[in-house]
């Protein structure tokens, strides 16, 4: 499992689990894109739109949420969905990366925000990194 969806009364609860932090960030971006446009990142992908991001945050969990928030805002700015992430530099509080996406006419779902609620990026008993992420719909 890299990302999967769990029930939430009004919003979307996603669980991400991966071997490395980098994979968590990649999977979380893919999961968010799946909400915005189902299957969009599974089809042949050109990644014609590249956006560079630089994010500083309070800690690693916040960095993940702030990264997704930034990618979401860029999606609305560019009217695009992003499927790929290339990390240039990553620390506990800093991420420098590029995201690659393609323009889109119509989304399946309008995410209002990526929330910090329940987010806690930790290593689980299987020695994998995991967190829940709640998207406000």
């Amino acid at each position: 499992m890299k990302f999967e969806f769990h029930p939430h009364t009004a919003d979307i609860r996603m669980k991400v689990e991966a071997n490395t932090i980098t994979e968590v960030f990649e999977a979380a971006l893919l999961g968010m894109s799946e909400i915005m446009k189902e299957g969009f990142c599974n089809r042949p992908f050109k990644g014609s739109l590249k956006v560079d991001l630089r994010i500083t945050s309070k800690d690693r969990t916040c960095l993940l949420i702030d990264f997704l928030s930034e990618a979401l805002s860029v999606s609305y700015d560019e009217k695009a969905v992003f499927c790929q992430l290339q990390i240039k530099k990553m620390g506990t509080n800093l991420l420098e990366a590029s995201i690659y996406g393609e323009a889109i006419d119509k989304l399946d779902e309008e995410i209002k925000a990526v929330t910090y609620h329940e987010a806690n990026l930790i290593k689980n008993k299987q020695n994998k990194w995991e967190t829940f992420i709640i998207f406000d719909i």
């Binding site: 009364t9 805002s73 309008e110």
Partner: protein, 482 residues
């Protein structure tokens, strides 16, 4: 932390309490307004854990409240009210929500359903054509930077000045559609940019424009003052501050998350992030929140203009105007004075999925409503009833002048989609005389009546609690959704 019925003590048939002693972080008790069948639904999700967490907010007064339409949110429960001490208590963007000043307005018409039954389907299509809805969809207005500053400063007045309504409309909007504390300089360029083409648009999720008819009148004198008659068509508009509001909340939560340490504030959930209202970060957020609230009122005003256009296109220009009955916010923090321990106390009242429900005698209410109280608009789900209520003096004594805001979800979107065949539901509703125009079947399935609590029970609870009185029941005939 798990909370079951055994942790709640019954105070009245409609009122339950989790005592302050339940958790060491609680500064006040947590209170639930709900009749027992609703309480069973509420216990099914994490609403009560979230309610208990809110009871730890710095400066919280009285009690942390949830209304009977409560459901789990992110941080704060949806349907919650938390009042903190002004000016040094906390302001928490999570207690307002990402959709700042999401709210509802009701327009009354002079047309009776019986006169125009054969035109309702055409009306639903015209409404759908005139009012942009759906994911990230832009409207016909493309604001310049200067116009954006004016919208953020002036709210609904900007729209009226531009010809999207009349001056009389402004008297029938909470705060006259304008919060003077708004400061556009506290709104990021990105937030402004997201709002440039979204005025006059509904968006998606549970937002809608609906045509209803008045099915029942409970308080004839009040209904008359509100301009409501049995059988009459009315229009309900439900939306908020769109991407601009979402971005403002995102921006300021991130700032506060870092600033919190400086004020030695620790919260049990990151989405309860808060700072003292009087702090620089608190003031910056509050001024940006007011700007987003103004944007939302301008948005509902432009949508009103679009609805009036659709109305005139179907019924003709001479067939009556749509008059604004009232516009209420249900995601907002307001500076108000209420009694705490028997004394007047200046408060920052956070309402997240809760409606202000002032009783009679408040000078801010329109003159014609002043002796009666404030209208409260409770939309149900498509296919069920909506209600018009009126606030009472008791709401000030009990819930900081607040009431519920809708039916409240009970099923997740996924569960709803699994249980509902959307094309079939659309046809079934059509057979019952309800025409649904939506951007997708997915949206219909997610917002199906089965996904919501019984709005009748929710309204009975607030009515029995005495915080609002039933004035009229509405039933839908046309629904426009994203």
């Amino acid at each position: 932390m798990k909370i079951g019925k055994q942790h709640l003590s019954k105070i009245e048939d409609y009122l339950w309490e989790i005592p302050k002693s339940f958790h060491k972080n609680m500064l006040v008790p947590a209170r639930v307004l709900a009749h027992e069948p609703i309480l069973d639904d509420i216990i099914g999700d994490r609403s009560l854990v979230q309610l208990v967490n809110v009871a730890s907010l710095p400066g919280i007064q009285g009690a942390s409240w949830v209304m009977p339409d409560v459901h789990e949110g992110y941080g704060f429960p949806i349907g919650g009210v938390a009042a903190t001490s002004h000016p040094d208590g906390a302001i928490s963007p999570g207690g307002i929500g990402y959709d700042i000043n999401c709210g509802v307005r009701l327009l009354t018409s002079t047309i009776m359903l019986e006169e125009v039954k054969d035109k309702i389907e055409a009306l639903s299509k015209e409404m759908y054509a005139q009012i942009p809805s759906g994911m990230g969809k832009g409207g016909f207005l493309h604001l310049s930077q200067k116009e954006m500053e004016d919208v953020l400063s002036l709210g609904a007045k900007w729209a009226v000045d531009k010809g999207y309504g009349n001056t009389k409309d402004l008297a029938f909007i909470e705060n006259n559609g304008h919060l003077p504390d708004a400061d556009p300089s506290k709104v990021s360029e990105r937030a402004k940019s997201r709002g440039l083409d979204q005025l006059g648009t509904i968006g998606s999720g549970n937002h809608f424009v609906e045509v209803d008819y008045v099915d029942e009148i409970y308080e004839p004198e009040v209904a008359e003052a509100f301009g409501l008659k049995k059988g009459q068509l009315v229009v309900l508009i439900h939306t908020g501050s769109r991407g601009l509001g979402h971005q403002i909340a995102t921006d300021h939560i991130k700032i506060m998350m870092i600033a919190m340490e400086k004020y030695d504030i620790r919260v049990p959930d990151r989405e309860l992030t808060c700072v003292p209202f009087s702090s620089l970060e608190g003031q910056n957020y509050y001024k940006a929140m007011c700007a987003a609230a103004n944007y939302a009122w301008a948005n509902r005003q432009v949508i009103t203009w679009e609805a009036r256009k659709a109305w005139a296109n179907i019924f003709g220009k001479d067939h009556g105007q749509l008059e604004l009955m009232y516009d209420v916010a249900h995601n907002m923090a307001k500076l108000e004075t209420h009694q705490v321990d028997g004394k007047p106390h200046a408060l920052i009242v956070h309402r997240k999925g809760a409606t202000r429900a002032f009783g009679p005698g408040f000078s801010e209410l329109p003159e014609s409503y002043n002796l009666l109280g404030q209208p409260v608009i409770i939309p149900g789900s498509m296919g069920t009833s909506s209600y018009i209520l009126i606030g009472t003096s008791k709401s000030h004594d009990l819930t900081f002048g607040s009431c519920c805001h809708g039916a409240g979800r009970r099923l997740s979107r996924t569960a709803s989609k699994k249980q509902v065949n959307a094309p079939q539901l659309k046809e079934q509703l059509k057979e019952r005389g309800i025409y649904v125009q939506a951007g997708s079947f997915k949206g219909i399935a997610e917002e199906a009546p089965i996904a919501y609590k019984d709005v009748n029970l929710v309204v009975e609870t607030v009515s029995d609690a005495g915080i609002a009185k039933k004035v009229a029941k509405l039933r839908p005939v046309a629904v426009v959704k994203g």
